[in-house]
Symmetry: C2
Subunit: 349 residues, 2 copies
């Protein structure tokens, strides 16, 4: 839509699903806009973001879903069970909701060791307990060997919304807003890559997989007026900012030198040919809010172990109907960030 | 648990997932009791049935999840999209809830024709519209060719509960209750089998896949005090009744001659070696209620096209702590129905 020259979904090269349809880049955007999006055209569409916000009697709730197909099932810093719980907890948090209830849909592949299943389920129970959510309903299906990849997990989640908080959504972003990031980037993608390729990295890089809901709760408790939140999963920081800028119709400028990244992570990703800006994270978010609120928000984030690396990385510099994200380099030059047309690394969540 | 001599999950024959772990029979029961069940031990566990009933502020809601792995994706009378919407709508209805919102989690296999995906998504949209539910949030993942089977869909659903209606649950069943069935059995399993094996049956048997929520709404509107509802999916009528009898701690006796089944369906299933009592349905439910309410309930069911074949098939004849289901044959003899140890037909939903 923003690029009418790009190939249509019905282009002969793409009459079948390809891996990049799931990569968080341009092809995925097209798939969602042309085929999947129309499914969700309904009165609640307007507020769809990471979660839908819907009324129920006198209450409003946030509702979200995510399927997890991460490969391998176990990686440094987590496993598919932990990511399935926290991924959905974090999506609810990104809508400003308090995560309450999760459902668990298991698709087991024939041949999965029951010991692995047990280990993953225990990890889910432990993670849910720590995050203060209840796993309340579930479903189990089994598919033949060769029709799965050990285990896929869907979690859907329900969260409650505080009364009187305006919607947290790209549309709430204003020119002059500050852009904060809650933690250092690139670790989850690297941890998956290391586990998948049996790379022996010099250092022991763990996924950043973390519960983000506590930091959001603390911000709301302090009365910080949040404009927009987004966790930096598929497609990484760059894809999240591009998507937000497009929806908000604004120009965002970020400073390369301000983006927190562990030097070992940066070096390893560089060696492997990955741009850290596009590498998936599972434990940090971007936060848009009025510039004058930024110092207080940063202070609150830094009180949490999961927010010690929080930083101001940029600002909203103007209106731009098509959306635009510029990254300013250490040399003062600017480059425009564009969606990946393919994908860097599939199945990171 | 009810059969301490049966093999444990950790028996050497079963240290890996086998197809029967998803079949709705004894092995699935064990998997759920030993491994998966403990995941859901929480304050909301007590009312878990087809849906969880949980509080949200001043409201109570029903929450359910289901993953759909039906093979093939298209069959006579439906497709994976239609079953994914109605399966969850029906689960909510079985808790006495009014289905409101559905989430959609897609796991696409690389190589899936986009035309098939489009057809399935359109079927979902159409089915949701007809059932009066909104698809409000979604997620799309892509897995490599050979790591899926075209398409898996998870739908989770939220429904609202009327105030003042006692819980619809096996624990509400009383001795003397009538057992009704809302439609004829065996059609869904046969339709899947026919599509999978490219059987050319003499007649054109369609799946019974239907929206069951309208009948439930009509019963509640009429003030019928429903004790328990269960749709007769995996494992069919027999497995559903056994599970209910065990949870309720009662003996149920059903009359073989009263169970509605299309003669062509019965003949075809018999030829193929399937017991119709254990064959999956997607459009009928069992209903437990006080015997004196049965005639009025039957009348209401029969007003609906999806309930024209509704019948009184049996009753709750006494307490039985371990639960028991007896089927009385045309000759007046009785046989005890027991859970399948394996499974008849995998991946019917």
């Amino acid at each position: 839509m923003d690029d009418p020259t790009s190939c249509s979904l019905h282009h002969s090269d793409y009459n079948r699903v390809v891996m990049a349809h799931g990569g968080g880049g341009r092809l995925m955007q097209q798939l969602i806009e042309t085929l999947i999006g129309p499914l969700f055209r309904n009165p609640h569409q307007e507020l769809c973001h990471d979660s839908a916000i819907v009324p129920l009697g006198q209450e409003r709730l946030a509702f979200t879903t995510d399927s997890f197909v991460v490969k391998p099932l176990f990686f440094n810093g987590g496993d598919i069970g932990k990511i399935a719980v926290l991924g959905t907890v974090n999506d609810l948090a990104m809508a400003g909701a308090q995560p309450l209830y999760l459902s668990v849909g298991l698709i087991l592949e024939e041949g999965l060791p029951l010991q692995d299943l047990e280990r993953i389920l225990m990890s889910m129970a432990r993670t849910a307990k720590a995050a203060g959510v209840h796993l309340v309903t579930g479903d189990t299906k089994v598919v033949e060997h060769g029709s799965g990849d050990g285990l896929y997990i869907n979690t859907s989640g329900i969260g409650s919304l505080r009364a009187g908080i305006p919607p947290i959504h790209p549309k709430a972003i204003a020119v002059g807003d500050a852009v904060l990031i809650s933690g250092d980037i690139g670790r989850h993608g690297l941890a998956i890559l290391a586990a998948r390729e049996h790379l022996s990295l010099e250092s022991d890089i763990q996924s950043d997989l973390r519960d983000l809901s506590r930091m959001v709760r603390a911000l709301l408790d302090a009365g910080i007026p949040i404009h927009c939140l987004r966790d930096l999963t598929r497609g990484g920081l760059a894809s999240a900012l591009i998507e937000i800028a497009e929806t908000a119709g604004v120009q965002v400028v970020i400073e390369d030198t301000e983006i927190p990244i562990n030097p070992e992570v940066e070096e390893a990703l560089e060696l492997l040919g990955f741009d850290p800006l596009f590498v998936a994270n599972e434990g940090c978010f971007a936060l848009f809010l009025a510039a004058k609120e930024a110092p207080r928000a940063l202070e609150i984030l830094k009180l949490h172990p999961e927010g010690v690396d929080a930083r101001l990385i940029g600002s909203v510099t103007g209106l731009k109907p098509q959306g635009q994200v510029l990254a300013r380099t250490a040399f003062g030059t600017e480059r425009m960030l564009t969606r990946l047309s393919g994908e860097q690394l599939p199945r990171i969540c």
